[in-house]
């Protein structure tokens, strides 16, 4: 009897798997790229270690984000986006809105939350002090959240 239920559970799990995959492709197809964040080719991020000044110099703006429009200077706002519901972090001279990433970091939300509204370059490059930098792929993932 148990084997019968286990078999059914296995079948349901496989069907669920393909359902979610189907749903994913449906969302991709029907959602504007800018909101789906998939297949977006964000501007290349230079992995510099530029320290973000709380009040950035206007003359440096282009140097920090050469490929982005410079109409907004979001660095001035960085420290105000410091909560789980509105979290920006600075990494390598850029700003990322990682609010939507909460719940997805393998190390838990806590490791991101404590750096909301701050320059997280050093913690990011040392995995919160462990010592090793995040992989190139992790940087790729981070690019999806680039706002400046």
């Amino acid at each position: 009897m148990m084997k019968k239920y286990l078999r059914q559970l296995t079948q349901i799990s496989i069907i669920n798997f393909f359902f979610i995959i189907g749903l994913l492709f449906y969302i991709q197809k029907n959602t504007p790229l800018s909101t789906s964040l998939l297949r977006v080719s964000p501007p290349q991020v230079k992995l510099s270690t530029t320290i973000i000044s709380p009040t950035p110099q206007p003359s440096n703006t282009n140097a920090l984000s050469p490929t982005l429009p410079s109409k907004n200077n979001l660095f001035t706002e960085l420290s105000t986006h410091n909560s789980k519901s509105d979290c920006w972090i600075g990494v390598g001279g850029h700003i990322y809105d990682v609010t939507m990433y909460f719940g997805s970091h393998p190390g838990g939300d806590g490791v991101i939350l404590k750096y909301c509204g701050t320059d997280a370059t050093t913690p990011f490059q040392s995995k919160d002090g462990i010592g090793a930098d995040h992989s190139a792929s992790a940087y790729d993932l981070l690019r999806h959240y680039l706002i400046q």
């Binding site: 286990l6 296995t10 496989i14 979610i20 789906s36 964040l37 393998p106």
Partner: protein
């Protein structure tokens, strides 16, 4: 004798894994803050442990067989634990994906190949598992192809383990949990590599040469003599058998001995049921036969026990009983045995003559033939009068799966302790 059940084997590892996972958290809010993520983490950890246990169970090691009560039971447990691990592991990324909806980028990170190697390993492992299980629960493949898809699960386990150790997670952040998982991964992966490479290609085999092949309707009797050493089996056991024959390839299948260990030659009586066994009549005298084993504990109660025995045989399930009957040494004169030989039509009762010949001088052995087309379906209430003359007896049943399940239930209903009802299940790997 008490043997370990799947429940007993899984309880302690599950408890320790859950405890270590809880200890890895900063507080209880860390667990309940994001229930879907917590559930997903629990699924991944326990699923991985179960997968490693399933791989360890597949090694065919003697101590595992002794602890669980026979290789057929071990493989049944391997099947249950493996299926449980699959259900848990497939739902690990699914829960994360559901949580991430409708953010397609995050969902795809869990389910599609991307740029992040540790995640990709998890995704690859997931797809291999899904593919292999599709061929277990939806699509029926020829055995030799199915076996290859099934073996892929071992690779999926190793790839999934690397994924678990590389990602930043509770495993990486909490050393006791990491150590616990590494120990299981080590034993599970080693077990898979052992059975996939060492057991198949290097482990010792008993080499025999076919001396006689005879076909009786849909049953093939294969007799063979050892080229060097004899396989040391006891009545009721089976071996994995392979042949050096182009038609049959290198497959190994489990078959019960139908000869006695005291005889010079071994004999296997095999019913042509599948795509492999239908080719057995193509074998020729002199073909090399390779045996691995022996396995099984079905004959233990016959060899070591003292109580009267009730043997219920369904069709080709007669093979281990023939081995026991032929083993003159073990046939204690005062050991009462009641044998019910069941078959659906007289042609199927092809071992009747052999059984009669083996038992004609044994006064304590009663043989009852049961042809279901003449006497109706065999059931315990129909034989209760015969059984009532014994106060306590052990029951050995070997036949088709549904027949064994049904009879076990019927014996329990008439007060026979389930521990005294023994099976031999053919449907193993």
């Amino acid at each position: 004798m008490k043997y370990l059940s799947a429940k007993q084997i899984l309880t302690i590892p599950t408890f320790i894994t859950l405890s270590l996972w809880l200890l890895s958290k900063k507080g209880i809010m860390d667990v309940f803050d994001d229930p879907l993520r917590s559930l997903s983490q629990i699924f991944s950890l326990i699923g991985l442990i179960y997968m490693m246990i399933s791989l360890i169970l597949s090694t065919r090691r003697r101590f595992i067989e002794d602890g669980i009560g026979g290789l057929d039971k071990v493989y049944e447990m391997h099947h249950i634990v493996g299926s449980l691990s699959f259900v848990l592991l497939i739902n690990h990324p699914l829960l994360l994906a559901i949580k991430a909806l409708p953010q397609a980028a995050l969902v795809s990170q869990y389910l599609l190949i991307g740029n992040y190697l540790p995640y990709n390993l998890g995704v690859v492992s997931l797809y291999i598992m899904v593919l292999a299980f599709i061929f277990m629960v939806f699509v029926r493949l020829p055995y030799h192809i199915w076996l290859k898809t099934h073996q892929l699960l071992g690779f999926a386990g190793i790839i999934g383990s690397v994924h678990a150790l590389l990602i930043t997670s509770d495993i990486s952040s909490y050393f006791p949990l990491r150590l616990w998982m590494i120990v299981w991964i080590f034993f599970g992966s080693t077990s898979f590599l052992y059975i996939f490479f060492y057991y198949k290609w290097i482990a010792s085999v008993y080499v025999y040469e076919i001396s006689k092949i005879e076909r009786l309707l849909d049953v093939v009797n294969i007799s063979a003599k050892p080229t060097k050493r004899k396989i040391p089996f006891v009545p009721g056991q089976f071996a994995y058998v392979g042949f050096k024959d182009i038609n049959l390839g290198g497959e190994q299948h489990p078959f019960s001995f139908s000869s006695s260990p005291l005889e010079d030659e071994v004999r296997f009586s095999i019913k042509m049921l599948g795509d492999y066994t239908v080719k057995l009549p193509l074998l020729r005298k002199g073909t090399k036969m390779f045996l691995k084993g022996p396995y099984g504990k079905f004959g233990d109660v016959y060899i070591k026990g003292k109580r009267p025995l009730v043997w219920i045989v369904g069709g080709i399930g007669v093979t281990p009983f023939l081995s026991m009957l032929r083993n003159e040494q073990q046939l204690i004169e005062d050991r009462a045995i009641i044998l019910f030989y069941c078959f659906s039509n007289p042609e199927e009762g092809m071992f009747s003559d052999e059984i009669k010949q083996l038992t004609e001088n044994k006064k304590t052995i009663e043989v009852h033939e049961w042809c279901s087309t003449q006497r109706g379906r065999f059931s315990v209430p129909k034989i209760i009068e015969i059984l009532e003359k014994y106060d306590k007896y052990d029951v050995q049943i070997c036949g088709p799966g549904p027949m064994m399940e049904s009879l076990k239930q019927q014996f329990e209903e008439v007060g026979v302790d389930s521990e005294r009802i023994l099976f031999e299940k053919f449907q193993i790997l």
